[in-house]
Symmetry: C2
Subunit: 224 residues, 2 copies
């Protein structure tokens, strides 16, 4: 029988993660230097699968394209569905496929930066892999971390996934148009979020109907 001591031995190998993290942090610092040198503001967009990351980016492009030059890095385990949607709008975009990786890391973003026309970008969205856990642990060199929660996902997510809600500079609550059809307690959600994060603004939106988007876009504008 496998002893619990042996299970502990597996746990003890975890310091390796620390080494990866600090190598990542050094590359992230370099990414930030590159972005700053080009006057680019970069936003790391994190959320569950299907929360509306690409939809929010497309709505933001719509709201800002006449005043800011936007670029996008798309992170997915596989496929280029999102990059194709962004490219259709004439926005410069690079798709990163992580293979099995459950989050973006700074070296992947550095590789993508090398393939973007940095001199022609003011605002860069980095769409992380759909995952509420690991992306928080990896600095990409971004200036702001934004999370998208969503109504049908449930009001208990801050309790179950506290790390990301704690780390973010702004929280978007998407799919508010579905509120009449699901059991989502807005007050319970807000209370749980505020227990973790007192200062990040919260933007209720529907990327589908456009509700709330102007306020979100106004905040983006103010972050330049």
């Amino acid at each position: 029988m496998r002893s619990s001591r042996e299970a502990n031995d597996v746990t003890r190998e975890l310091p390796v993660v620390e080494r990866i993290l600090s190598a990542n942090d050094l590359v992230a610092r370099e990414n930030r230097r590159i972005l700053d040198a080009h006057g680019i503001r970069a936003i790391n967009i994190m959320a569950s699968p299907g929360a509306g990351k690409t939809s929010l980016i497309l709505r933001s492009v719509e709201g800002l394209q006449h005043e800011l030059r936007i670029g996008v890095i798309e992170g997915d385990v596989a496929g280029r569905v999102d990059a194709d949607k962004v490219a259709e709008r004439g926005v410069p975009v690079v798709q990163i496929n992580t293979g099995g990786g459950c989050h973006l890391d700074a070296p992947q973003v550095q590789g993508a930066l090398e393939r973007l026309p940095l001199e022609a970008i003011d605002l860069l969205f980095v769409e992380n892999v759909g995952n509420l856990i690991c992306p928080t642990g990896f600095d990409l060199g971004e200036h702001l971390k934004v999370m998208i929660a969503n109504v049908p996902e449930g009001d208990d997510k801050p309790i179950k996934y506290p790390g990301m809600f704690t780390a973010v500079d702004a929280l978007v609550l998407n799919k508010v148009d579905l509120a009449p059809y699901v059991d989502f307690d807005d007050q319970k959600f807000r209370t749980a979020f505020r227990a973790l994060n007192a200062s990040a603004p919260l933007f209720p939106v529907s990327c589908r109907t456009g509700e709330g988007i102007p306020v979100w876009v106004e905040w983006l504008r103010s972050q330049r």
Copy 2:
């Protein structure tokens, strides 16, 4: 400047993951032996955050509690919201909190098995951490892997997260009651799923309204 060779060095450390995986597989094998010795059938339930894992377990308990003795292991990064909901039904349940961990592993499940009344359980649900990526890579000792996709999450998930759709023995598509309010192309979803997995049955359900649940429960019954 950070060279791309240094980024590659980070990647080269990945064999460590292989060692964790094989230790995990040995513990998983032991878990399966323990489960079999008690005549327990174990199902690993995997999905995004908020897809309805706990709701499906509660619906299954409702449908089977007069014929089968059910037990539950709840996996979450933090909190005991789900375990409390299950315990309210009088079902034996153990909550695992992974800290920052983005999936359950076999040693965690072994620890939970030690705290369950195994002689009084026929069917064990193991609710994995909400994540469409990493849980697939870790055998827990279960007999069946079930995934829950959901309608508001979008029809493109098989393309973006192929690993889990490929690995599962059954796929539940939850929240079909929301189909009139979102853009979900059922045919596109099915085609993408079938390209990855020709044999796993697909169960469209609504845990909220109960639609489709009897067929899912009948399948569970047939798996004993």
